[in-house]
Each structure stands twice: as structure tokens, then as C-alpha cells.
């Protein structure tokens, strides 16, 4: 089936050969149901907790006295608790749910020993809870992105290994000859993440390398977590959901290949651009800059591939809760990556470095791109796993609009504010304190955006738990929940 170059969206999804595949998918869904549900519930719980930490940190940035009497709520701790809750709590859990599910489906291989997967998942979340508690307690390390104290990390590594292995096993026992692009990304990322995490832990925390090698390792790790873990997982999800929901093939296999290998080759080098101007050999930084700019290649390729697969079907995209989020994320991927490449240039970096611009950029990537696509993934996956429909289209709309508006305000505020801040900091005539005071209106705008995001997350959580628990009325609902009043049959 994969050999057919046909692009016709009319190809009937009801032909009998596909029906066998679809029955098989149902079996696969059943095999991963308990573990995936656990991961989604954990992910949403961490999302809510991380949102609270985020709000606290955002308010404290312009109201330093806010909750100032609680030691465990000081800015440094709350900020790091937010980062780790979001990256390792929300991010990893939702990847374990959506990524493993997509991998199992594409490999047409049910997850065996799902008990081990579930138990490993429980231990991942126990390890993370200990880690976040440790951060708030004051055992935080001084290394950005690796703040979790050393007594929690071994548990994280072991439980990750027991989770990731099921993705690899699914691939090992796959059926069919063709390996789809989502499988490449997921398989690669399942190896990249543990490699990054273990090497960084060893070289920075357990047996610290000497001198600036630590900083190089630190930014190699921190940047690659975004580019070689969150990014490939979100791209795999988009690559799966766009053709799946629209019933139309991905535009070009060749672009997929080019995009994947360009990411794999170039991204690994890019992190050093965080150290521009720092005391490390200049060739290393220049190599990082070149690699960052080279990232334009996979970004444009993926952008074209996604765009051409969607083009002409914008109405369907808008009606489907899944695709509305996924396409928002895919567009953000193009934007945030091109901005990121520009930020690596020395002349731009001299302005943006050490400013809120970088913070805005990080949220642009992790939220507007990764998180939005994962929201789309949850909207697609849950009806299949639970065999129920989303109870409320209204709540989905609130979720979408609050998140879309919220993240837009945040990115614009932090990047415009950060740019001004950078220009002012480079101007020796302006006293430093004045540059700090001038950021306050922009930081307040960020807090406003945080409130938008919170409302969106609450709407999402209500809809999710309503679907999960309120069986009676919800179970009776027929047909997919679409973001459109017209009742003509369709896609979710």
C-alpha cells in the first residue's frame, strides 16, 4: 500500500483489506490502553502543577514580594520546578503516551508485557516527584535543565529505560516492509534522549568534567533535549496525524528523508551557540552557529511537506480538534526554528543573549510547537482508547483559543521586550537598573498570557476528566466531536 504514489483523498477508507488493518489497530489500542491512560493522566496532572509554578514565577518577576515569605517558593526554585515539571512531567509523559501509541500502531505490533510499561511509568513519576520536591526543598543543582538533585536521577534513568524499550521492541517486531517517517523519528529519539541524559548526568553531576567542558556539555544537553527529543516526537505526531485525519498521503517521501537526516546531522551541534562570547575555543562556537543556520534545511523541508499535505483541505483542518492544534504547532515549528537560526548569528545573539528574548523563544518552541501538537495528539488518541467521544466542543474551542492567544501574547511580549532590553543593555549610557525597570510592562504582559494559558489548560483538564469519568451521558454521544455546527459526517 505504501508503494502507491496515489494522492487521491477519495480513496475509500472502507475497503476490506484496510478493514483488517483497522481491526488490528483496535487490538493494538487495547494493548496499550492502561499504560497510555496512565501517562496521559500523569501528563495532564504535571501540566496543571507546572502551570501553577509558571504563574508564581511569572508574577514574581514583576512583583518580587509576592509570596516572598515562603522559602520554597523563591523565584529560583519555582522557576526550575516549573521547567522540570513541564519538560519531564508533561513533556515526557505525553511522549510516552502518544509516541509509544503511534509507534505501536505504525509497527502493527501490540505492546506485550504492558504491566512492566505501567510500573515503569509509575516509577518515572515517583522519581520526578521526588526530584521536584527536592528542587523546592533547596537541593537543586546549579545546572540549567539538570536541576533535579542527584538522588532522584538514577530512578528516572532506570524507569526511562524500561519505558523506552517498548517503543524499540514494537519496532523490532514490526509487520510490513515499509517504515513510515514517524517511526524513524520516534525510534531515533528513543535512543537520543537516554544518550543525552546519561552523558550529561555523568559529565556534569556524577564525575564532573573540568572547566568549560561542563558548560559545553550543559548546552549540548539542554538544547538537544528540545531538538532531539521533544522536536522529533512532535514531528512524528504531526506526520502521523495529518495524513491520518485527512485520509491523504504525506506529500513527499524524499522531503521526509531529507528532513529527518538533516535534523539528525545538524541539530546535535547547535547547542553551543548559547555560549557565544564565552571562553571556549572559537571553532566550537562557529561550528555551532553554522549548524544552527543549517537547521533551516530540515525546517523548510518539513514545513513544505506538511503544508503540501494539508493544502486545499483547510476547512477540514479547522473542523478537526486534532488538526487545529497540530497545524498550529506545525506552523509554529517553522517560525520558531527560523527565528532560532537567526538568533545563533553573532550579530543577533549580541542583542538577544541574556534577555527575555531567549525565554520567549523557548516557550515558542516547547509550547506553541511541541505542546500544541501533543494536545492534538491527545484529542485524536483518547476517543480511540476510551471508545468515547469528547464531551464538549465548546471546551475544546476555549482550550484552543486561550492557548493560541495566550502563547502569542507571551512570545510577542517577551521577544519585543527582550529585543529592547538587549539594545538597552548594550548601550553603556543606560544604567543597568533602568534596563531592568523597562522590562516590567512586558513581564506583566507575560503574566496576562499565563492567565490565558491557565484557563485553556483548565478547560482541557475538565473535558478530559469528564470524558474519563462521566460515563453515562458522554458514552451515549455519537460521532466525533467537531468544532463546527454542521453535522455532516467527518473526521476527528
Amino acid at each position: 500500500m505504501s508503494d502507491s504514489p496515489s494522492k487521491s483523498p477519495q480513496e475509500s477508507p472502507y475497503s476490506s483489506s484496510n478493514e483488517a488493518v483497522r481491526a488490528e489497530l483496535s487490538e493494538i489500542d487495547a494493548s496499550i490502553r492502561s499504560a497510555a491512560l496512565f501517562f496521559v493522566i500523569s501528563a495532564i496532572s504535571w501540566l496543571m502543577l507546572g502551570t501553577i509554578f509558571a504563574l508564581l514565577a511569572a508574577f514574581k518577576a514583576h512583583e518580587p514580594d509576592f509570596a516572598g515569605t515562603f522559602e520554597f517558593l523563591t523565584f529560583g526554585r519555582v522557576r526550575s520546578a516549573h521547567l522540570n515539571a513541564m519538560a519531564l512531567g508533561w513533556g515526557n509523559n505525553i511522549i510516552f503516551a502518544v509516541g509509544l501509541w503511534i509507534m505501536a500502531r505504525l509497527c502493527r505490533a501490540p505492546i506485550h508485557h504492558k504491566g512492566i510499561l505501567l510500573i515503569a511509568g509509575i516509577f518515572w513519576n515517583i522519581g520526578l516527584s521526588v526530584g521536584i520536591f527536592g528542587i523546592l526543598r533547596g537541593d537543586i543543582t546549579s545546572v540549567e535543565w539538570l536541576e533535579i538533585p542527584h538522588y532522584a536521577t538514577p530512578l528516572l534513568v532506570i524507569s526511562y529505560a524500561l519505558i523506552g524499550v517498548w517503543g524499540v521492541m514494537a519496532f523490532r517486531f514490526r509487520k510490513g516492509d515499509h517504515v513510515y517517517v514517524s517511526q524513524w523519528y520516534i525510534l531515533a529519539a528513543l535512543f537520543w534522549f537516554p544518550w543525552l541524559y546519561v552523558v550529561a548526568q555523568i559529565m556534569i553531576i556524577w564525575f564532573p568534567a573540568r572547566g568549560v567542558v561542563q558548560s559545553v556539555t550543559n548546552w549540548w544537553f539542554a538544547h538537544n533535549v528540545l531538538g532531539l527529543w521533544l522536536t522529533p516526537m512532535a514531528l512524528a505526531t504531526a506526520y502521523y496525524l495529518i495524513p491520518k485525519v485527512l485520509g491523504r498521503p504525506i506529500y513527499s517521501y524524499y522531503l521526509s528523508v531529507l528532513g529527518f537526516w538533516a535534523l539528525a546531522i545538524f541539530y546535535n551541534w547547535a547547542g553551543v551557540h548559547h555560549l557565544i562570547g564565552g571562553p571556549i575555543p572559537v571553532w566550537l562556537i562557529s561550528a555551532g552557529i553554522v549548524a544552527s543556520v543549517m537547521m533551516v534545511i530540515p525546517v523548510i523541508v518539513v514545513g513544505i511537506n506538511h503544508h503540501m499535505s494539508v493544502v486545499g483541505l483547510h476547512k477540514e483542518v479547522w473542523r478537526s480538534p486534532t488538526l487545529r492544534f497540530v497545524v498550529f504547532g506545525a506552523i509554529s515549528y517553522t517560525l520558531v526554528s527560523l527565528i532560532g537560526s537567526a538568533m545563533a548569528l553573532r550579530t543577533v545573539n549580541q542583542i538577544t543573549h541574556f534577555t527575555h528574548f531567549t525565554v520567549g523563544h523557548a516557550h515558542h518552541g516547547v509550547y506553541a510547537f511541541f505542546t500544541m501538537i501533543m494536545f492534538g495528539g491527545v484529542y485524536y488518541m483518547m476517543p480511540r482508547l476510551l471508545k468515547r467521544e469528547w464531551p464538549s466542543a465548546g471546551l475544546i474551542k476555549i482550550h484552543f483559543w486561550c492557548c493560541a492567544i495566550g502563547i502569542t501574547i507571551m512570545v510577542v511580549a517577551l521577544q519585543v521586550g527582550g529585543w529592547i532590553q538587549g539594545l538597552e543593555m548594550n548601550n553603556a549610557e543606560i544604567p543597568f537598573l533602568e534596563t531592568v525597570q523597562n522590562t516590567i510592562p512586558w513581564l506583566k504582559a507575560r503574566s496576562v498570557s499565563g492567565i490565558f494559558l491557565t484557563v485553556g489548560h483548565v478547560a482541557f483538564a475538565i473535558n478530559f476528566f469528564w470524558m474519563l469519568f462521566a460515563a453515562g451521558a458522554v458514552r451515549a454521544k455519537q460521532g466525533p466531536t467537531l468544532l463546527d455546527d454542521s453535522k455532516e459526517g467527518g473526521i476527528a
Binding site: S16, G176, Y239, I242, I250, S252, V282, V301, K387
Partner: protein
């Protein structure tokens, strides 16, 4: 591989007939069936070619990357930190900073807190340096103050100050001889002051002279027993300093 798939699908066809009969009555089965039916085909890829202009664009990017690395790689040396480092230029030369500029930096860090950035001091507490006779007179006076410190009342520009100036020589805050020479030069040539430069060897001589002294100077003894003014020519030192330097040469 194919035969396995075929077997499976034929088995499914047989099973499906029985299943469909049961499904007529079973509400749950109908529900599952509806779920199955809305599921579209698993995704696959088309084979549209890569647009040719993209290949040219990517080739241009790679070319740029190569040029950038050649220009800014610092010869892949571990000790090259500047993006403009030229491996063919020999060992990097230390940057030359004039005594006056160096002194300005030392002054900001060590002196401006009391004597103020404008050299006017604080009335009644810290004496002014701008226009002070003590500053622009014999260079040995300032050298003494800097090396050993100053204690007790002193009259500057008609006002009496009674304070305590710390020693910056080896027995005190231990500035280098070069820094002491630099800051004296700066103070003697800034804010309209136009006195001669004080060089590092001069301070070296004075330091050796007063190394044994452990007490700060009193105002009364500052001008006693001065040696001959060492030969020091006022040179135009830096662009910013030209007004002072010009004034000095005019004298």
C-alpha cells in the same frame, strides 16, 4: 511476508461474517464497529520530487557554512577565542592601553567612590582632586600619598579636611606599580588638571624608597625632602585626553 498477511485477512473474513451477525444485536459491538469505520487508512507517503530551487538554496547554505567556518574557526586552535582570530598573523599582540586610560579604569574602581567621578570630592568629607595644588604639584607628593596613605587634617583649595586616605602600596591595598603610576597620571591630567605624566619606573623608585615606612603621611611632612622632579615629558596620551594634554603642552 505477503502470504502471512493474506492468511490473516482471509481468517478475518471468515470471522467477520459471524461477527457481523452478532453485531446486529450487540450494542457495544456496534459502537466498536462505528469506531473502526471512522478510522482512516494508516498514513503513507507520496513521492513528489523535491523542488529544484530548494536544492540550489540548500547548496548555497552549505557553501556559506563552509566559508563561515574558514573565516571564523580560529584555525581550530584550542586557545583562539576571537571570531576574527587570524591563524596566519602570528602570536596575538597584547592590546596597548595608554597610562591615562588605564588610570581612568583604576580611578573608577578604587577612587571615585570617595573623590567622585568628577574629581570634586564631597564637601567637608573627601577633598577634591580637580584643581588641587597637592595633585598637580611635585609628582612625589601624590606618590607618597598613594604608597603609604595620608592621615590627619589637610587644607585643599582653602578648606580643611580631616580624614583617612588608605595606602595603596605594597603595605596597603597593594595596587601594582603600573596601576599606581596610571591613576596618578590620570588624576593629574583629567578635569582640567594639566600636570606631567608619572611613569611606572618612577613609582618603582618611590616604592623602593618608602617600602620601609609603615605609617601614613601627615599633610605637614608631604612637601618636605622632595627629590628633583624626574624627567617626564607630557605626551598626548589618548584621543579623549587631548584637551588636558593640549593644555599641558601649551604650558
Amino acid at each position: 511476508m505477503m502470504s502471512e498477511d493474506e492468511k490473516k485477512s482471509s481468517a478475518n473474513t471468515v470471522g467477520r461474517e459471524a461477527m457481523e451477525k452478532a453485531a446486529m444485536q450487540d450494542e457495544h459491538m456496534q459502537e466498536v464497529h462505528a469506531q473502526l469505520m471512522r478510522e482512516k487508512e494508516e498514513p503513507h507517503e507520496g513521492f513528489s520530487p523535491v523542488p529544484i530551487f530548494l536544492m540550489f538554496f540548500f547548496a548555497a547554505l552549505c557553501f556559506w557554512g563552509g566559508v563561515y567556518l574558514v573565516e571564523h574557526s580560529g584555525g581550530y586552535r584550542w586557545d583562539a577565542y576571537s571570531p576574527d582570530f587570524d591563524p596566519n598573523a602570528g602570536a596575538p599582540k597584547p592590546v596597548e592601553i595608554s597610562l591615562f586610560d588605564r588610570g581612568a579604569k583604576v580611578y573608577r574602581n578604587q577612587c571615585a567612590q570617595c573623590h567622585q567621578a568628577d574629581g570634586n570630592g564631597v564637601p567637608g568629607v573627601y577633598p577634591p582632586l580637580a584643581g588641587s595644588d597637592w595633585v598637580v604639584g611635585h609628582p612625589q607628593v601624590m606618590a607618597r600619598i598613594l604608597i603609604n596613605g595620608l592621615n590627619g587634617p589637610i587644607v585643599v583649595k582653602g578648606n580643611t579636611y580631616n580624614g583617612n586616605m588608605p595606602a595603596f602600596g605594597s603595605s596597603g591595598l597593594a595596587l601594582s606599580e603600573k596601576d599606581i603610576a596610571a591613576v596618578i597620571t590620570y588624576v593629574r591630567q583629567e578635569w582640567g588638571n594639566a600636570a606631567s605624566e608619572v611613569t611606572e619606573p618612577m613609582i618603582g623608585d618611590y616604592s623602593a624608597l618608602y617600602a620601609g615606612r609603615s605609617t601614613p603621611w601627615q599633610a605637614a611632612e608631604l612637601k618636605e625632602g622632595l627629590g628633583p622632579i624626574p624627567e617626564a615629558v607630557v605626551q598626548p596620551v589618548a584621543e579623549e585626553a587631548t584637551p588636558a594634554a593640549e593644555a599641558a603642552t601649551a604650558n
